[in-house]
Structure formats: C-alpha cells, structure tokens
C-alpha cells in the first residue's frame, strides 16, 4: 500500500456507493482513468464492502462490561477488618490473598479467598451464613479453619481462612524424597482429617494435592473444606458439582469423581475417590488419568474408565525411561524396586478407591485408612481385587488396538516402499490417526508383516526386473487372509477390514473398497452392538467409498445410518459434523438439493458451536471435510475457507510451527481455492507449502508434487513461463529421486507437456508425450488406462499444429492400441477414428478418411442415437470427405440435413451449427482447405 492517495480512493469509493450497482463499474473506470493503482484499490474496496456481512463492525461480540470492569479492582486494600498484604495465588475461582488484622488487635495472619466476578454473590453469602456454624465447628489440627466470609467493597465474595504456610503434599513428599512407607503415613493423617469432617457431615468435594498443604514440620492441613459446596448451584436436588456451577470448566478433572461429571449425588464416597487420586499421585507421580501422551482427551473421562494399576503406571514398558527413574528417585528407590513395592495389595487399595461406581469404592474413609495401615503392618487388607475391572481395562486396550492398526498398516506400506509417492501421501492421512504402541500392537504387527512379506524397499525400476509390487495386490492378499485367519476374532476382523477398505479408497480403488467395507460394517454390527463408534466409522467409510463410485443412493443409506447412530452416541462433536457434511454432499450429488440444504444447515450450525479443542484428534477428518466442501455449492463452499483455516491453525499448533502437516493442509486448501478460481491465493499458498516441504527435505517427492500442482495453477493464471519453470523443476526433482522410467515421472511429464503445448512449443510437447508413452507401454495397467489417451493426444497435437502427415501414423498407432485391448464399439476408439478420418481428408486421402468416418459414425450412432449432436459433428467431416472426392451432391445432402437438425435443436448461432453451415457454404466456393 505505497503512495496511494487514500483520500482520493475514499472519495471515489464513497461516490461509487451512491450509484446503483450497475453504474458503478463505469463510474469507477472513468474516474480512475490512467491510474491503475487507484482503480485497483477502489475495486478491491468494492469487493470487500460487498463481501462484508452487514453486521460487520456493528457490535462488539462479547460482554463489554467484563472487559471494562475486569482490572478496575486490583487496588483492593482492605477486606472487612483485614488488610491485604499480598497475593499468594490465583486460581480458577479467584485470588488468594495474605492478610492481617487492620486494627492491630490480633497478631494473626489469614488467607483470604477472593472470588472472581460473575458469581452469584448474594446466594453464596446466604449459603455461607447457613453453613457457617457447621463450618466453623470444624476444629481439627489437620484442617485449616474457615473463619469468616462476606462481600468485599467491589462486590466480590470472600472467605477468610487460617493461613497455612506449606507446600502441597506431593511437592512436600518429592522435595524430601519420602519413600513409599513415609508417604503412606502422611496419607493416613489426611484420611483421619477427612473422616473427622465426614462425622460432622461435611464433604470436601474438591480433594486434590493443592488443597492438602504440609507445613515445614510435616503437618498436613486440608484447605477449602466445604467451600465447594457453598459455591454450587442453588437448587441442587442432586447437588451437582461445582464444575457446572460456574458454567464452565473450573476444576481440573484430574481428581474429580465420575459422579461429579455426571451430576450424580455427592457423598462421602466422592471424597474417597479424591483421596484415591491423591494417593495415586503420591505414589506414581502423576494423577490417574493424566498420561504424558494425553491419550485420553479430558472429556472422555466421563466414560467411567478404570485407571491403570499403580504398579503398571509407574514403570510401563513403553514409558520414558528417564521419567520412571526420576519418579523412583523421588521415592528414594529405583524403578524395579518401586514397582515391587507398589504391587500387590497397594494396587488393590488404590484401585478400590478409584472405582468408577461409588458403591464399589470404600464406603467410608475410615476403611480406606484402615486398609492402608494394614498394608503397612503387613496384615491382609479388606479390599478385593476385581477381575471385572481388569477385564474392562483389557477390553479398552484392545479397542485402542484398532486405532493403532490403521497407522501400522500405512506405516508398513510406506516403510517397505511399495507405494509410490502419491499413494504414500494418501495413506499417510491414515497414519496421522494413530500411534504405534509396541507391546499392545505386537501381535497385529506380526500378522501384518506376514501379510506384507516383501523383499526390498523402493528400488528404481529397471527393465527386466520384476514389476514393482502393487499396493493393491498386497491389500488383496491382506483381505483374504483376514477373512480366513481371523474368524475367531470378529471384532479384530472388522477393524482390520476397515483399515484395508480405507487403504483401497485412498488408492483410488473404491470398487475394491466397497465390498470389504460392507463386510466390515456387518462385522461391527455383530460385535459392537448398535451403538458403537466403530460402527459409525465403518458406515462412514462405506458411504464414502460408494460416493466415490457415484453410487449416491446407497451412499446415502450408509451415511444416514451413521448419522443416526452418532446422534445416539455423541451428537455435538466434530465427528458428527463430518458425517453431516458428507451426507449433505451426497444428497446434493444425487439431486436432492432440498434435503442437502437442510443437512448442510445443521452442519453449519454445529460447526459454529464447536471449538478448537473439538478437532484435536481428527485433523485428517478436517482435511477431508475441507476438500469435500470445496466441491459443494455455496454457501457451504464458503465455509471451506474457514474449515481449512482452522485446519492450518490446528496443524500449526500441533507441530509447533510449520511442519509438514501444515504444508499438506495448505496444499489441500490451495486446490480448493483453485477450484473456486481464486488462483492467486492458491498460488501463494503453494509457494509456502513447497517451502515447508523443502525445508524438511530439499529435493523430495513432496516438493515435486507441490511444484507440479502449482505449475498447473500458474498456467491457469496465465504466467506460462513460470508454469513451465515450475513443471520442469518438479520433473527434475522426481527424476533424481525415482529415476527416468518411473511411472510418477511420466505422469508429471504430462503436466509439463500441457504447459509446453500452451506455450506453443509443440515439438517439445510431442517429444515429452512420446517419452511418457514409452513409460506407459511398459505397464499393462497403464497401457490400458493411460496409454491410448496419451497416444491420441500426441496425434491430435500434431494434427492441430498442422503436421497432418506425421499425425497419421500416430493416429494409426492409437487405433491399434485401442483395437487390441478394447471391444470394437468402444467409444474412445470411435472418437480417435473420427479424428483420424478428418486428418486423412486433410492429408489428401479422402476415401480412406470417408471409411474411417463412417465407421466412427456407426459406433457413435449405436451409443448416442443417430440424431445426436456428436454424430452430426462427425457428419460434418464426412461431408468434407465427400466433397473432396468430388461427390458434391452427396455432400450437400448430408450437410443440409445436419444444418437443419442443428439449427432446430441448438439454434443458428451455436458453434456446431455454424461449423456445419460453414462446411455447407464451402461446397459452393473453393475446395475446402485444412
């Protein structure tokens, strides 16, 4: 934005706005004549102004008051009779301040908990007054006294408590390297205090290490007794937890019991759970559900899963060795010995305290205390090991297996180099979903390795050596073996078949994917029941595969069911959104726009309600959805940008910067933009993506494919020189990586060929095509799928650039390829014959041309009907062929018929009609030329 006279821009813009829409362009052009920058700026503004939502900038989206008032109160100096000394801490609920008596009457220090704004102060205060007597009566050496409460000058509620100078129980224990036994003793003191409170009918509800401080002389003191209850919502029948009272996530879920999530009744058993969680952390070094790799997103906690055993958690096989050693050191021992100490009865005690169902835990804290004591005194404990719980956790680990195998198969395929770059990229999407866990997945890994027994990683193909192994062959083999070898484990079968089906799909073999996925759905239904997420996933995959084959009706069936099941399981998630988007697309694709619109609407509404955390695990999902959105009509396609933008941000956050997944996301975004003709944006995105890939690995396949995509887009923009440079670079890199004769190189050369054609460098383009053909000829699949088309292109290229003679042999070659592999009435053959015929006429062999053209007409008539425009188009050439042989009357008859037909059906100004007309008129004049 340099040196533009913005006041002028503003003037022209504002003036233009005062005109009706259709008058604007002319006005702007007139007033910006000779000043392209001015014109560009005004136009940009006109577009932006149009695009902007009418409500843009008309209201601040959030509560202003909050913002304005937030820090106005920092300078509270007094609260009640207390003078504030300093802030001790800050938490989810508010601040904790150190204070002392202002009137110097008592030499006492207190801790004042000053709550945040937005709390229902009056209600809280009322409740406090009710409970005050009870709370104040809690007089125990290990419980910090609650002294007073009220409302401060700025309207915020506060509680005054005995000040405890200490550290959290876990920090205290770690700092002094307390051994297991000493920790248990400390823990018992805490239990006794909680038991005392229970006897006085007070439940803590918020037990966690930070609420259990230990003074320097080793005395534990429990804080915040009963405060949680005071803060909970007023009309509590079931005494719902403080978590929801604040309308948000206020307490960390690490130590909260399941019933606090569900809104069930809070009882003494809730405190047992809390104590169990604290004991877990005291012994293991982390809370029960807080893995380092965060395998369980917080929200899943509500699924009542059982935590790992402490002996297992402290030295799990896949775990970071350093960490285990550190944990053991802080307990004054080594990992092996620690594991032994924590095993056996201690495992059982902790597990019992942490049972998901309250009635299966210790019913009273006193019992928990007793069992700990018994363990310390080597007496038998009362809690019983639970085989059911054990089985439950096994089952869960088995399900995690399913997630793992997705990644395993893709990783294996790539490692063994049997997939090409393109295919590997497609499969990598799957890999993103999973993480390999050695022990659990070992059996499956072995199975897969057995299936995919291949000799050697990626080698350049040399003629004479065996064909490179095709990924689809491997998948075929895998599918067969899964069916035969795993009949005893239908659940695993279902998962693995799902994986194979997905892999097929990614390899563009949706025809193969469908039956496999249908089988997977069948198995999932049998094994998982009607409400399993795995069933949803399988149905979704099936729907996708069908959709890719354009079997939209059946795709709809599968996706509809998936949506229904998902609605029962978890309706407000990213997964649901993904399903809705796919379903909408399928409805549209099958012509039912009204339903498509309705489903889209639901999807959009849901999308706007989802937050960043909702997409964490499903980046691949986001990408797929974004791509899908690029294909559907507006307004949904407008959302493609927001989805992609979100995807990029998620990838950036996940990779801590600009990792390869960001490049992949940008590339997909660029394609979407390109489809919507936003070519410049696509171009710059791809530049960034290529740079990211290049930073990771300078001359990699990824860079090449990105540059290739970019060259196509740049070609559409019109900068042919740059397009050629990009395409050349892409080919160069790929040749260096894969060798001259690799199939991928051939495909990329085709792109370069396009650019060369557009630049008019026909000879080079033809040479390129010939190189490509040579590669295609070598592979039977390509020879069928790609060679004929490419050969035809070569011939056409020659023909259209005037090298008619040369084109003839190429046409002949194309025809012979087609005739060998395809039935006689194959449409493509007919079309090639048509072009051949035209070329023959122009080459001065009208009789041969006539023969070819008539043959083409025969086939096309059978396919399209005798009056079809395609057939008529060939007849035009036929007319010329006849005329060239001097048979003008025949020619005229043919052409007149065509002209009449076309004029009626397509109008006189249609291009084909005009061509026919031209040929007819040409009969009268000089001999028609080429």
């Amino acid at each position: 934005m340099t040196a533009i006279d913005w006041s002028r821009v503003a003037e022209v813009y504002a003036d233009a706005l005062e005109l009706p829409t259709d008058g604007r362009a002319a006005f702007v052009d007139a007033h910006c004549a000779g000043q392209p920058e001015l014109l560009a700026a005004v136009n940009r503004l006109l577009i932006a102004g149009d695009e902007a939502d009418p409500s843009f900038l008309t209201h601040l989206g959030r509560d202003v008051l909050d913002a304005v008032a937030d820090d106005a109160t920092t300078a509270l100096e007094h609260i009640g009779p207390w003078r504030i000394v300093r802030e001790i801490g800050r938490g989810g609920m508010g601040q904790v301040l150190l204070a002392e008596r202002a009137d110097g009457q008592f030499d006492q220090q207190v801790a004042i908990k000053l709550l945040k704004r937005g709390m229902d102060s009056d209600a809280i205060l009322a409740r406090f007054l009710r409970e005050r007597r009870i709370l104040a009566a809690l007089d125990h050496p290990n419980i910090a006294r609650l002294l007073d409460g009220g409302i401060a000058d700025d309207g915020r509620p506060y509680f005054v408590m005995e000040y405890v100078d200490g550290e959290s129980i876990t920090a205290f224990a770690d700092a002094r390297r307390l051994g297991v036994d000493a920790r248990l003793t400390l823990f018992r003191t805490v239990c006794l205090a909680v038991e005392y409170a229970h006897r006085n009918l007070i439940v803590h509800r918020d037990l966690k290490p930070s609420n259990i401080l230990v003074t320097a002389d080793g005395r534990p003191k429990l804080l915040d007794f009963g405060i949680a209850k005071l803060l909970s919502a007023p009309n509590d029948q079931a005494e719902t937890s403080t978590m929801t009272a604040m309308g948000g996530r206020m307490l960390t879920p690490d130590y909260a019991a399941p019933e606090q999530f569900h809104g069930g009744p809070i009882t003494t058993a809730t405190d047992v759970y809390g104590l169990g969680a604290v004991l877990f952390e005291l012994l293991v070094g982390r809370p029960p559900f807080s893995d380092d790799d965060a395998t369980y997103p917080r929200r899943d906690r509500a699924s009542d899963e059982e935590p790992p055993l402490i002996s297992a958690a402290v030295a799990a096989p896949g775990q970071d060795q350093e960490r285990s050693a550190g944990v053991a050191t802080m307990r004054g021992t080594d990992p092996v010995r620690l594991r032994r100490q924590l095993g056996g009865d201690l495992d059982t005690i902790v597990a019992t305290a942490l049972r998901a169902a309250p009635d299966r835990r210790y019913s009273a804290v006193g019992t928990l205390h007793d069992d700990v004591r018994r363990h310390q005194e080597r007496l038998p404990v009362r809690a019983r090991r639970d085989t059911l719980g054990y089985r439950v956790s096994r089952f869960v680990r088995r399900h995690r297996l399913a997630v793992v195998t997705t990644g395993a198969i893709a990783a294996l395929l790539v490692t063994f180099g049997v997939t090409t770059a393109v295919q590997a990229r497609a499969l990598a999407v799957e890999r993103d979903r999973a993480r390999l866990e050695a022990t659990a997945a070992r059996e499956v890994s072995e199975f897969l390795v057995g299936v995919f027994q291949v000799a050697d990683p990626m080698t350049p193909v040399t003629p004479g050596q065996g064909r490179e192994v095709r990924a689809s062959d491997l998948l075929d083999r895998g599918a067969t073996r899964i069916e035969s070898d795993l009949t005893a484990q239908p659940a695993v079968q279902a998962r693995l078949l799902g994986v194979i089906g997905r892999a097929y799909d990614n390899l563009q073999r949706s025809d193969r994917a469908e039956p496999v996925l249908a089988r997977a759905v069948e198995l999932e239904r049998k094994t998982g029941g009607p409400d399993s997420p795995a069933l949803v996933a399988a149905l979704q995959q099936l729907g996708r595969a069908r959709s890719r084959r354009a079997d939209f009706d059946n795709a709809r069936v599968a996706l509809r069911e998936a949506v229904e099941v998902q609605r029962r399981i978890a309706p407000a998630t990213a997964a649901m959104w993904g399903l809705l988007v796919e379903l909408a697309y399928v409805h549209d694709a099958s012509g039912d726009h009204e339903t498509g619109r309705a489903v889209r609407k639901e999807a959009i509404e849901l999308f706007s309600r989802l937050g960043p955390d909702d997409f964490g695990d499903s980046r691949a999902e986001l990408q797929r959805m974004a791509e899908l959105m690029g294909k559907v009509p507006p307004p949904m396609s407008n959302y493609a940008d927001s989805v992609f933008s979100r995807l990029v941000a998620v990838e950036r956050a996940a990779s801590g910067g600009d990792g390869t997944p960001v490049a992949t996301a940008l590339t997909a975004w660029a394609s979407s933009k390109a489809r919507r003709r936003e070519l410049a944006a696509a171009d710059s995105m791809l530049t960034t993506a290529a740079a990211i890939h290049a930073a990771a690995a300078p001359a990699s396949v990824a860079v090449a494919t990105t540059l290739n995509t970019q060259s196509m887009i740049v070609m559409q923009i019109g900068d042919l020189a740059r397009a050629e440079a990009l395409a050349r670079e892409a080919v160069r890199i790929l040749i260096a990586r894969l060798g001259e004769d690799h199939r991928e190189v051939a495909l990329m050369r085709l792109s370069l060929g396009f650019v060369l054609q557009r630049r008019g460098r026909i000879d080079e383009a033809i040479a390129m095509s010939r190189l490509v053909n040579a590669t295609f000829e070598r592979d039977t699949n390509d020879a069928v799928a790609l060679l004929p088309q490419n050969q035809w292109d070569v011939a056409l290229l020659l023909y259209r650039s005037g090298r008619v003679e040369e084109s003839l042999s190429e046409f002949a070659k194309a025809l012979s390829i087609l005739e060998t592999r395809f039935p006689a009435d194959y449409v493509m053959t007919a079309m090639v014959r048509r072009d051949y015929g035209a070329a023959l006429v122009d080459a001065g062999r009208p009789a041969d041309g006539e023969r070819a053209l008539r043959a083409a007409i025969d086939v096309l008539t059978k396919r399209y009907g005798t009056d079809h425009v395609r057939v008529d188009a060939v007849r035009i050439s036929l007319g010329r062929a006849l005329a060239a042989q001097g048979r003008r009357d025949e020619a005229r008859r043919v052409l007149e018929e065509v002209v009449n037909r076309l004029t009626t059906s397509r109008g006189a100004s249609d291009s084909v009609t005009r061509r026919a007309r031209g040929a007819l008129d040409g009969l009268e004049g000089p001999r028609p030329g080429a």
Partner: protein, 198 residues
C-alpha cells in the same frame, strides 16, 4: 454517589474547553479520567446486576456522560470531546483486556492464530479486536478520521449522529467514512487471514 472527584474534574475540563476558542485539545487530559470513570461505572453495574448484566458500550458511555452532573453548561463541542475521549478509552480498555486474556490463555509468547479468530474473520460477524487493532492503527495512518469513526461506532457504540457530534463533522461525512472504513477493514482482515495462513 452523585459525582465523584473524577467526574467533577471531567466536567471542569469540558467547561473550560468551551470557553477557549481553538484551545488545546483536551483529549489527553480527558482520556485517563474518562477511562477510570468508565471502569468504575462498569464494576458498579456488575455488582448490582451480577450475572444478569448486559450492558452495551453505548449505554455505558452515555451513562458516564450523564453522571457528569452539571452538564447543562457544557456546549456541543465539549460534549463532543467527551464522547471522542470515551471512544478512545473504550478501545484502549477493550484491546488491553483482550491482550491480557489472550496471553493468559496461551501462556504468553508468540501468538498463534486461534481457530475462532480465523473463523470469525471469514464469518464476518464476531470480530476479534486483537486482529482488528493493527488494522485500525494502519487505517489511522491512511485515513485518520475514518479510524476515529470506527472507534466511535464500534468501540463506543455511538450512532451516526453522535459520531458526527463527537468528531465535529456532518453526518454525511460520517456515513462516507464509515462505509470506507468498513470496506477497508474487511479487506485488511481478509488479507491478514490469508497471510496468516500462508
């Protein structure tokens, strides 16, 4: 509490200004006072209404003006200064708050585009003030008055007429500036989103 010392001072400045033709623009003097006054009022409202608070910037600013007490003698120009100062104050308060809140959420350091930001930009409804702010700063360089208009309308919620009073121009001018600013800022946000993505 009728009028605090702050409001008295504000009123004094406004009255003083009116008497002086072409005098020193008192925005600098007004700004800190108005700033404190707005915050004070906001907390009082919070205390009174608690969870049910819904206060728009317009209300806040107008209420602040009304609390100034004896404003009968303040002329239109004085009033204008107040509103302009209030708009600037609101902007500063809100942007500062957003910054603080943003930092706390992400633990300081480099600010990544959050998903809501990106979405908001494309949706065009809920604007993120932190994204807007550099745009507004740039707009002020390019077209100062237009940026002031945005301050008044967006941050202080003033009507076109009130804005015209605050800035001492005609409503037609405000309208034109407003259209321009909206288009310009939308374009800016669009580009910022694209740049952020690439």
């Amino acid at each position: 509490m009728a009028a605090t010392s702050a409001t008295n001072r504000i009123t004094a400045i406004l009255l003083e200004t009116d008497g002086v033709e072409g005098g020193r623009v008192p925005i600098d003097l007004l700004l800190p006072l108005v700033y404190d006054e707005l915050r004070e009022m906001a907390s009082r409202r919070l205390r009174r209404d608690g969870k049910d608070l819904t206060l728009s910037p317009t209300e806040l600013v107008h209420e602040a003006y009304l609390r100034l007490g004896d404003t009968a003698s303040v002329t239109a120009r004085g009033r204008a200064y107040f509103f302009a100062a209030a708009a600037q104050a609101m902007r500063r308060i809100i942007v500062d708050h957003a910054r603080r809140r943003g930092r706390r959420k992400r633990g300081g350091g480099e600010r990544a585009i959050t998903l809501d930001d990106a979405l908001a930009i494309v949706d065009g409804t809920d604007v993120d003030v932190l994204e807007l702010e550099p745009g507004l700063v740039q707009l002020a360089v390019v077209a100062e008055r237009a940026a002031r208009v945005v301050e008044c309308r967006f941050y202080a919620g003033l009507s076109i007429d009130d804005t015209a009073v605050a800035l001492g121009v005609t409503t037609r001018t405000v309208n034109r500036d407003w259209q321009f600013a909206r288009a310009w800022l939308h374009d800016y946000l669009k580009r910022a989103a694209q740049d952020g993505a690439s």
